[in-house]
């Protein structure tokens, strides 16, 4: 908690000049523009602060080490909607070294994607947090793990997201490695029949919604 107070203070300074909500306890998150209901604002802020706290703790178990071992801060997903099974079938290509670094940070233990026991479970737990598919403003759908393929160059992660209503009005986001690489770009190449679109998820624009009008 000592750390938290420090970060909280820092956050306040860091955001100076932007619209700030009066600081009380850990609630230093600025009110987002357009939010007028004060109670809603407070609720949102409280939740954000809690989430932030939880996430910070989540990945802070071991000391930070430099990670950017290459300039390829990108992942790319082939996401194809299977109209028969009503699943979005995803093949996500990530840098295997980044994946190991990330899991190492989350667990505080050395990770070898090829050898570490139950590494799939660690990957799935992380993926569920970062790769989210939300139909029509609902909660993220449960991601179904299919498996992975790893070689020296790439780690391919395979999973399905059930979308019984199709891909229209679905919000996609992939925030993988945002914790360790501030310029990470996660591209989702979405394919639904003849409709093809690429979404680039960055920390500034982590998600995008596919609207019916676009299709």
């Amino acid at each position: 908690m000592v750390r938290w107070i420090r970060i909280s203070t820092f956050g306040y300074q860091w955001l100076s000049g932007t619209q700030l909500y009066p600081q009380s306890g850990a609630n230093w998150i600025p009110a987002s523009a357009g939010m007028t209901d004060k109670r809603a604002t407070e609720r949102m802020m409280f939740r954000s602060a809690l989430t932030l706290l939880a996430n910070v703790i989540n990945v802070a178990l071991i000391a930070s080490a430099a990670t950017a071992a290459h300039p390829f801060h990108v992942s790319i997903a082939q996401a194809k909607y299977n109209a028969e099974s009503k699943n979005l079938e995803v093949a996500l290509r990530v840098h295997p070294g980044d994946l190991e670094t990330m899991l190492r940070r989350r667990t505080g233990k050395p990770i070898n994607i090829d050898k570490t026991e139950k590494v799939d479970e660690l990957i799935v737990a992380y993926l569920k947090e970062v790769f989210q598919v939300k139909p029509g403003g609902k909660e993220a759908v449960e991601l179904k793990w299919v498996g992975k393929q790893v070689d020296v160059k790439h780690a391919w992660l395979f999973f399905e997201c059930p979308l019984p209503e199709g891909t229209t009005d679905v919000e996609f986001s992939n925030r993988i490695f945002f914790e360790i690489l501030s310029d990470q770009v996660n591209t989702i190449n979405l394919e639904d029949g003849d409709y093809k679109k690429s979404l680039n998820c960055t920390k500034d624009r982590p998600s995008a919604i596919i609207r019916a009008a676009e299709k």
């Binding site: 820092f10 390829f72 050395p110 090829d114 680039n200 920390k203």
Partner: protein, 785 residues
């Protein structure tokens, strides 16, 4: 001769639903973009400095800056305290009233543009490490303190610091051909690379309390002044590395007396800084057949416990370099091996802490020498006397003249994965390779990342493939870039370094792949290698611009490549060619007996309607009353008549021998209809398989698309029957959709579908369910691709 074609069959492929072409462009008389439009209107007009053939012109000039630097590394406070004397030579035709210097360390100031323009993290996915970095970037007292700027006589010079640059005002204008001497004193705090990432800095080892320094971008350096851009005014934001002037350096590095130093240039005073044993080993290493230790791992481990008793000054000289960097630590192991690059003696050396072992002593120096061999073959002989690879303090890799810093290390227990091993070899090749581009072929990295990273990644691929068979290169193979090419949210290669959306794929992979495609598919190895080498030789120790590369490659290969640069470098089009249809025709011989027999067979093969079939056996009136039959009932137009025979004889009489032979050849005419779905025009590579089991390859240049870049048809004339046509059979064009590459069509399964199928019929997986999960995971991983 008039040929008679009979369309025997038309085989249409599956419904083709390619990208619809945007129709919102203003109406014009031809509704296609001209993919072969010449680049003249985009490229700068050639002049006396740069010719239209892509070579330096008769009036080519570049500035020069020589440096004498005294620097002290303060290991107690992790600081640099230094003094430099710059001799600046104005070779330009222009009069200069002020000079600009780069102060790259100012990027670490809390109020730097790099920090101010950094956007917020995603608060849902923020880590302590990241928050600590933000915090450190706010509190770290980074940036250069310029304490004194003076002329050669010591009189202060007026100067003004503008972010990461400094303007020094000259008391009187520097005319063309003149030189000026001035001095700068400065100091700065070195960044901790673990907290504030940079291209240089220090690494602290908690376990033994020692520091390891990789020091670069550390002195006020002359900004490039060029014929194309004047002063290079792009401030340092972190991504666009730099561009500088070539010059000679004398650098006196004062460090704790128990440190080992590696630096750009040749050590001038080994007797002052090295032990007799170290000097003896260094001499021996010059003729050694394998890397040998100057400082062994055991000695380095012993040094880690040492405390300095004073300072030592290492003196270096380096000629014709555009920058200067060094490393220093008491933790260093040091190995070296001399190598002869076509008559030029080079000492390849590696500096690394014990944390790098056993990987580094096995691979680093070997990788340096391998790089020099391969790169020199494709460009020019390595001209410098030294090539160094240092482990740390940065985690990736970063290049400077004669010296580079490389991150990969084994695990703490000394084991390492294949990824770490290949990661190390690749990064050493890459960073040592940067000596060629951009250290010697001095392109402007702050403007164009691809000119050094792209060209270097391309040569890295060639060098990797000569390291071992099927070396797992990350970039170079067209199929590895397909996913990126297919994505719709990207910018062209010809985009400024600081504005690239996906930095790695855009600045490294795509240009490297493009050059590989140009070499293998468009020009062929011989033409490409000649032209590429010509570019390197023309611009060795000079400063090329993008147009100089484009123009030289055309000039030396004799091939107009404007369409290639336009497609791969100026657009975001991708390659997706498809076969939409194959039509087959045979030639009529003109012989009424064979032709009419064939027509009859065709007529008999025509579809009988249901009514025709059911009416067939109904009793007919003309059968009951035969007198109703006349000439027309008996006439068959497919019977051979006297007139037919006569006409055939006349026809034959008019033919010459060649035409008769052609008539008798029984040729099949296949018309392959092709569509360009992705927009990028590319050569059409067709593998044609025949019913008799033989196959041929047809390689059609991209110019097939010059009149119509959306749809074209190609005629294939063969006496044989085609059973299968495959487009891009060797995966050499980065075609993003293979489903439309086959005739007859093939269903191509997605990577997901393939994996799922493999999962379903995977005995190892089945075994895994019953037993040890980790073992089976391993097997599945290695059995993957």
């Amino acid at each position: 001769m008039k040929l008679h074609f009979a369309l025997l069959c038309s085989l249409t492929l599956l419904g083709f639903s390619g990208a619809a072409f945007a129709q919102d462009a203003p109406p014009k008389k031809f509704d296609q973009e001209d993919k072969f439009r010449q680049l003249e209107e985009i490229l700068p007009t050639a002049n006396a400095y740069r010719t239209s053939s892509g070579a330096p012109g008769h009036g080519y000039w570049q500035q020069r800056a020589d440096y004498v630097i005294d620097v002290e590394l303060d290991d107690e406070n992790q600081r640099i305290i230094a003094h430099e004397q710059i001799t600046y030579h104005n070779n330009s035709p222009d009069e200069l009233r002020y000079l600009w210097l780069q102060l790259d360390q100012n990027i670490f100031r809390a109020d730097s543009d790099a920090n101010l323009t950094a956007t917020a993290p995603d608060l849902d996915r923020v880590s302590f490490g990241m928050l600590k970095s933000y915090l450190e970037s706010q509190s770290f007292a980074g940036g250069m303190n310029i304490t004194h700027v003076a002329d050669a006589e010591g009189n202060p010079l007026s100067h003004s610091i503008v972010k990461t640059m400094m303007r020094v005002d000259l008391p009187r204008p520097l005319r063309t051909g003149e030189s000026t001497v001035f001095t700068v004193d400065w100091n700065y705090n070195i960044n901790d690379c673990n907290l504030i990432r940079g291209r240089s800095g220090y690494e602290f080892f908690e376990k033994d309390g020692n520091y390891l320094y990789g020091i670069a971008q550390w002195f006020p350096r002359m900004v490039a002044y060029t014929d194309a851009n004047g002063w290079q005014h792009k401030q340092f934001l972190g991504r666009g590395e730099f561009t500088l002037e070539l010059g000679d350096y004398e650098v006196r590095l004062t460090v704790p007396d128990d440190h080992i130093v590696g630096a750009t240039g040749i050590l001038q005073n080994p007797e002052d800084v090295l032990t007799e044993t170290q000097r003896q080993r260094l001499r021996e290493s010059k003729t050694a057949s394998r890397p040998m230790f100057i400082v062994s791992p055991e000695e380095a481990a012993e040094n880690e416990k040492s405390k300095p008793s004073g300072k030592k000054t290492w003196i270096y000289k380096a000629e014709n370099v555009r920058d200067y960097a060094f490393c220093s630590s008491r933790k260093f192991i040091w190995d070296a091996q001399g190598h002869n690059v076509n008559g030029n003696e080079v000492l390849a050396m590696s500096f690394y802490p014990n944390e790098g072992e056993p990987l580094w002593s096995q691979y680093s120096t070997h990788s340096i020498i391998h790089t020099l061999n391969v790169y020199s073959r494709y460009t020019f002989d390595y001209p410098y006397p030294i090539a160094i690879s240092v482990n740390g303090p940065i985690s990736g890799g970063m290049e400077y003249p004669m010296i580079c810093f490389n991150g990969p290390r084994p695990e703490e227990d000394g084991t390492y994965t294949a990824r770490t091993k290949y990661g190390l070899i690749s990064v050493v090749i890459h960073e040592v390779g940067h000596n060629y581009f951009p250290m010697i072929v001095n392109s402007d990295e702050r403007q164009w990342t691809w000119m050094d990273e792209g060209l270097n990644s391309f040569l890295q691929f060639l060098a990797e493939q000569e390291w071992e068979e099927d070396y797992p290169s990350r970039r170079g193979e067209p199929q590895d870039i397909v996913e990126y090419m297919a994505s719709t949210n990207q910018v062209p290669i010809m985009t400024n370094s600081e504005s690239l959306l996906q930095f790695g794929p855009n600045g490294y992979s795509k240009p490297a792949t493009a050059l590989n495609v140009l070499r293998e598919t468009v020009l062929g190895r011989e033409l490409f290698d000649f032209a590429f080498k010509e570019y390197a030789i023309r611009w060795k120790f000079k400063r090329p611009m993008p147009a100089d590369f484009f123009r030289t490659m055309e000039d030396a290969s004799g091939i107009d490549l404007d369409w290639f640069w336009r497609g791969w470098f100026y657009s975001t089009d991708h390659c997706d060619l498809g076969i939409t249809n194959v039509r087959v025709a045979t030639m009529k011989s003109g012989n009424p007996y064979t032709d009419k027999a064939q027509d009859r067979a065709d007529r008999d093969a025509e579809v009988q309607t249901l009514s025709q079939q059911r009416n067939k056996d109904l009793p007919k009136r003309i059968d009951e009353f035969p007198e109703l039959r006349d000439f027309y009932n008996e006439f068959d137009e497919l019977n051979v008549t006297d007139a037919d025979r006569e006409q055939y004889e006349k026809f034959l009489a008019k033919l010459d021998d060649d035409e008769k032979e052609m008539l008798n050849s029984q040729a099949n005419f296949y018309v392959v209809d092709l569509q360009n779905v992705g927009g990028l025009v590319m050569p059409v590579i067709l593998k044609i398989e025949f019913e008799d089991g033989t196959e041929e390859e047809l390689r059609i240049p991209a110019e097939i698309w010059r009149y119509d870049n959306e749809k074209v048809s190609k005629l294939i004339l063969t006496p044989k029957i085609i059973s299968q046509i495959t487009l891009d059979p060797h995966l050499e064009t980065a075609d993003v959709d293979l489903e439309n590459n086959f005739f007859p069509p093939k269903i191509i399964k997605s990577r997901f579908e393939l994996f799922k199928e493999q999962q379903q019929s995977n005995p190892i997986r089945d075994a895994q369910k019953a037993g040890d999960a980790a073992t089976a995971d391993d097997a599945a991983a290695t059995g993957g691709q």
